[in-house]
Symmetry: C2
Subunit: 150 residues, 2 copies
């Protein structure tokens, strides 16, 4: 278990799994959670700039979380979810795309209210088979500290 003080200055890990977007997956997710025509209907998708089905934003975020589970990152002593910042949808996740995730250690700060914990910003980047970023966000993890920093 890696406590707040022991987190390395730098680090970056790739997901070991890959997720390929199929029409069935895109439609099943959208039908349940985000029923917009561009995710559900080939005819509507054909009129978009990319010309084919694109995944719902919530599905792309779900894929990023799923792939994160397969990244060989050290086990940080995470005690709470501090939220997600700067979620950006850079380009659509399209039918046939093969997606991977890169996790990179980012900013960190000791909690001012609770010196026995700190916040680690983990940069999450979902990218496609051409290496283009599809979605990125900062996952703020609340991590247990070994000491109160005093």
């Amino acid at each position: 278990m890696v406590y707040f003080e022991d987190i390395a200055q730098d680090g970056s890990w790739l997901s070991q799994e890959m997720f390929e977007l199929t029409a069935e997956d895109i439609k099943a997710f959208a039908r349940q959670w985000d029923p917009f025509p561009i995710h559900l209907d080939e005819a509507a998708a054909a009129k978009t700039p990319a010309g084919r089905l694109s995944a719902a934003g919530a599905q792309l975020l779900s894929i990023a979380i799923r792939l994160s589970h397969t990244a060989p990152m050290p086990k940080f002593a995470v005690i709470a979810a501090g939220g997600w910042d700067q979620v950006r949808f850079h380009r659509p996740g399209l039918l046939g795309d093969r997606l991977r995730v890169r996790l990179t250690l980012g900013e960190r700060r000791r909690s001012s209210k609770r010196p026995d914990r700190g916040v680690l910003g983990l940069d999450v980047e979902l990218f496609n088979q051409r290496g283009e970023t599809v979605v990125s966000f900062i996952n703020q993890l609340v991590v247990q500290a070994r000491s109160d920093g005093a």
Copy 2:
């Protein structure tokens, strides 16, 4: 279609539908997208402060999007997704919770690079049957303007 200049100063809308978290839903989502024991296993969930299954964060965001589709909001001339900011998980979404969404008009600014569009911050709040906020975030919508503001 409501263009950027014509968006009212204030406005707030409730989802007309409600989403009740069942064990089957929580587990099915987590199995596919976020296989952590607290979402999947009653015995692991029993050891958490709430003592019962909680939904994955990505599922709570997906529910917020789904319920947003049922809010009687005017049809803004949205042309792109500007991203989500300040996603916060205030408290768990627990087995048996009945969730609704409130959408509220927030900050807006004309695009500096593209004066024919603006960015509208739509505050999204997912709350439970006791009126407690479960998740909140700002959905930044890129909205077409009628004129270039010149």
